[in-house]
């Protein structure tokens, strides 16, 4: 390269390419995204957050919560789950013998080992999941046989992966963040993922207590305490209905109460509005739960 123009050309080619790819293309692809339809339903997803929760997102941003929490659940794939609901008149031993008789079927060849292992440890308690497979055809074949044998079973589609079901029941998808600004996906999990925290921990009082004194509900929590989001004040003529119910070692002095400030209430409203629990075309699962909070 012999002159400045050559360098300019190199930059335009290299950075321009990635600019078109990683800035313009996603904007075109996702810029006109609309609400998605929830599977087997006429409801749309996501719902606009309430006003309080929208303000809570700004509290979340201002305090840099995304420095330690992600809002993205990952998923490896989906699996079909065959669950035994009722044996009707069949005895557990007879059922075991029946399933063993199915092992010669070619369509079940892939899962005979796991089936045998599951049945070995089974003592007849119901309902029980007898088969988890990533092949929907195998699950369907199995449930057809069970139906023919006169026992009641259900087949579910479930998401699989390390984050599931610990932090959510399906992966996060682009649609979940349609109305957010700023989108707080986060890059680091010092604490747990929060994409589905509203469905996982729906108790507002628990959330407030956790913000006030994280070690109260999680021993050895590394989360800093957000006491500055609360007022400690003298109890007036009657205790405030908002006052936190705290155990002895976290409670303020006698005659005082801990009351959440507006920011704390907004933040909790936002946390409770964080849900990823509607089955969508791109993240299916069953049974279908209601999308309405």
């Amino acid at each position: 390269m012999r002159n400045g123009f050559a360098v300019f050309f190199a930059v335009v080619v290299a950075l321009g390419g990635s600019w078109l790819g990683f800035v313009v293309a996603p904007t075109v692809q996702l810029g006109k995204a609309k609400q998605a339809l929830i599977l087997n339903s006429t409801d749309t997803w996501p719902q606009q957050r309430t006003g309080e929760a929208t303000l809570g997102l700004q509290v979340y941003r201002a305090n840099g919560c995304a420095a330690c929490h992600t809002e993205q659940i990952r998923q490896d794939g989906v699996a079909a789950e065959v669950t035994l609901i009722a044996l009707n008149k069949t005895k557990p031993e007879d059922f075991k013998a029946f399933v063993q008789s199915l092992f010669i079927l070619p369509e079940l060849a892939k899962v005979t080992n796991t089936l045998a292992a599951t049945l070995n440890g089974w003592k007849g308690d119901l309902p029980t999941t007898i088969l988890v497979t990533d092949d929907k055809a195998v699950a369907d074949a199995m449930s057809d046989r069970l139906k023919a044998a006169g026992v009641k079973s259900e087949t579910h589609i479930v998401a699989t992966g390390e984050d599931i079901p610990r932090w959510g029941i399906r992966r996060s998808v682009a649609a979940d963040f349609l109305y957010d600004f700023p989108v707080q996906l986060g890059n680091l999990r010092v604490g747990p993922d929060l994409a589905d925290v509203g469905a996982r921990l729906p108790d507002a009082n628990w959330q407030l207590q956790h913000l006030y004194a994280p070690t109260l509900s999680v021993t050895n929590s590394a989360m800093p305490s957000f006491k500055f989001l609360f007022d400690v004040r003298k109890i007036g003529s009657a205790p405030s209905p908002d006052a936190l119910n705290l155990p002895k070692q976290f409670a303020p002095a006698d005659g005082y109460e801990v009351v959440p400030k507006l920011e704390a209430k907004e933040l909790v409203a936002y946390l409770l509005s964080l849900r990823a629990d509607a089955p969508l075309y791109e993240a299916p699962f069953s049974p279908i739960t209601s999308a309405k909070p």
Binding site: M1, R2, N3, G4, A6, V7, A10, V11, V13, A14, L15, G17, S18, W19, G21, F22, V23, P26, T27, Q29, L30, G31, A33, R61, A62, N63, G64, A66, A67, Q72, R74, Q75, E162, R166, R171, V173, A174, A175, D176, F177, D180, F181, P182, V183, Q184, L185, N187, L188, R189, V190, G191, P214, T215, N220, S221, A222, P224, S225, K227, F228
Partner: protein, 470 residues
């Protein structure tokens, strides 16, 4: 003496023309580095005593950590890099710095912008996007100052006597074009009243983060190393062709990275990222070969001076690149994604690679800027040790914590020991940067005192007798 020799400006004159702009850039950078590392130490203390700042809204981890990171990059890395770049451009052009007043003004505007940004983050006004936390006012100041400094640099570049470009030129010129493009794009799309919708914000944020932290720092750091390594080793860069190859592959592949593997975005984005990361091994090998062949067997002894800094920094760069590749490889991504491993890579890139290379360059330049040289030359060697230990402790413990955390399914307790060791690493960096700050501030004060003395002496001196008429 022929006319060509007459046109050459002496090195001393070039250095003198760079003096004030460089001191303005380096002085502010030193201050922000110390403040940034102090904030990083405070942030890291959260993992020793989470209750510590419970009543102090501006000192929680979520405020301190982004503020510290921004100070390291915007406060220290960029102005220090620009200062070194200006000097290299002037020297390579064999011309005095053009319009030296512009970078002086720009440097002060830049540091004002960083101050506004820092205050805003601590007060809870962060924009919520990684590396873009600064508010619009600060971003505008930074953008304008960068363009002003780039203007002066390009004008100096235009004065060059030999038309041929050196490898250092390619990297540094590209860096001058790179930053305004990515910074304006990211700010216009994200830190505005009309942002892009949904996860596109996150995608653009990741694109910006990679282009700033990996590509921009690599362009400047490698460019600076390609200028100083051959100079100190006393032999030519090996070779121009390799350097050209490394330059093209670095900017072609390095810029397509940054989207996490499991992110809730269209699947082609993480796939492109994984593919580009794999290809990144090509420029890394090329740069490693260039550095190795240029440095290996050189008669220069390092003795804790700039040569040591540059060699250590370039090794850190190769390591940081390999860590980036490892964390983007789909197989391993599941283990280290969203863990401290990513932070370890970022800090290795900023402190282990960029800061150390830039300090090598600064310690090569500083003694030439002012006649007295460094007030405490022994600090250079001590700082090198502090930085090496800091890199080892900080990056090692964070990477270890990350892998452990990933293996333990994000159990917060798994990482805590590593995070506590990391505090020690931050402290070593803080001590090292204090040494630099002392050196540059004593140097600046001495120079200002000398300047004042000259001015006073000039004022006090009696008028020449011939002027006085009886």
């Amino acid at each position: 003496m022929n006319s060509a020799e007459n046109n050459l400006v002496s090195a001393a004159k070039i250095d003198a023309s760079c003096r004030v702009p460089l001191l303005a850039l380096f002085g502010g950078a030193a201050l922000w580095l110390v403040v940034g590392l102090l904030l990083a130490v405070l942030a890291s203390l959260t993992f020793h005593a989470p209750e510590m700042f419970a009543h102090c809204p501006f000192a929680t981890y979520g405020h301190l950590a982004p503020a510290a990171n921004d100070l390291l990059v915007y406060g220290f890395a960029i102005p220090a890099g620009l200062g070194v770049l200006l000097w290299i451009f002037a020297r390579l052009s064999q011309a005095e710095l053009v319009l030296p007043l512009i970078p002086v003004v720009a440097a002060n505007l830049w540091h004002l912008g960083v101050f506004i940004g820092l205050a805003t983050i601590l007060c809870g006004g962060s924009s919520g996007f990684t590396w873009l936390e600064f508010p619009r006012a600060a971003a505008m100041l930074l953008g304008v100052s960068f363009v002003l400094i780039a203007f002066s640099a390009v004008a100096t570049f235009g004065q060059r006597k030999a038309r041929e470009l050196y490898p250092a030129h390619w990297f540094l010129l590209a860096a001058l074009l790179w930053f305004p493009w990515i910074y304006s794009t990211a700010n216009l799309f994200l830190v505005t009243t009309w942002p892009v919708r949904g996860v596109t914000q996150a995608i653009i944020n990741w694109w910006f983060a990679d282009n700033l932290i990996f590509v921009w720092l690599a362009l400047v750091g490698v460019g600076v190393a390609f200028y100083f390594l051959p100079k100190i080793a006393g032999r030519p860069l090996h070779s121009r062709f390799y350097a050209l190859f490394a330059f093209w592959t670095l900017i072609l592949f390095g810029t397509w990275i940054g989207i996490p593997q499991g992110a809730p975005v269209p699947a082609w984005l993480p796939t492109t990222n994984a593919f580009a990361s794999l290809l990144l091994v090509i420029p890394l090998i090329a740069i490693a070969v260039i550095v190795f062949k240029t440095v290996w067997g050189a008669p220069t002894v390092c003795k804790g001076g700039p040569f040591c800094y540059l060699r250590f920094g370039m090794t850190a760069f190769i390591l940081s690149g390999l860590m980036l590749i490892a964390s983007a490889c789909p197989e391993h991504a599941r283990t280290v994604e969203f863990t401290w491993f990513g932070q370890a890579q970022t800090q290795l890139q900023i402190l282990g690679f960029f800061a150390i290379v830039i300090f090598g360059a600064i310690y090569e330049i500083l003694p030439r800027l002012l006649d007295g040289g460094l007030p405490f030359p022994k600090f250079v060697r001590v700082q090198h040790w502090f930085f090496m230990l800091g890199t080892l402790l900080l990056v090692g413990s964070l990477a270890f914590a990350g892998v452990k955390q990933g293996r333990a399914a994000y159990d917060p307790a798994a990482a805590i020991m590593g995070l506590r060791i990391a505090t020690m690493g931050w402290t070593f960096f803080l001590f090292g940067s204090l040494l630099f700050a002392v050196n540059i501030f004593v140097m600046t004060i001495r120079w200002k005192l000398a300047l004042a003395k000259t001015v006073i002496a000039y004022i006090k001196s009696p008028l020449e007798t011939s002027e006085v008429k009886p």
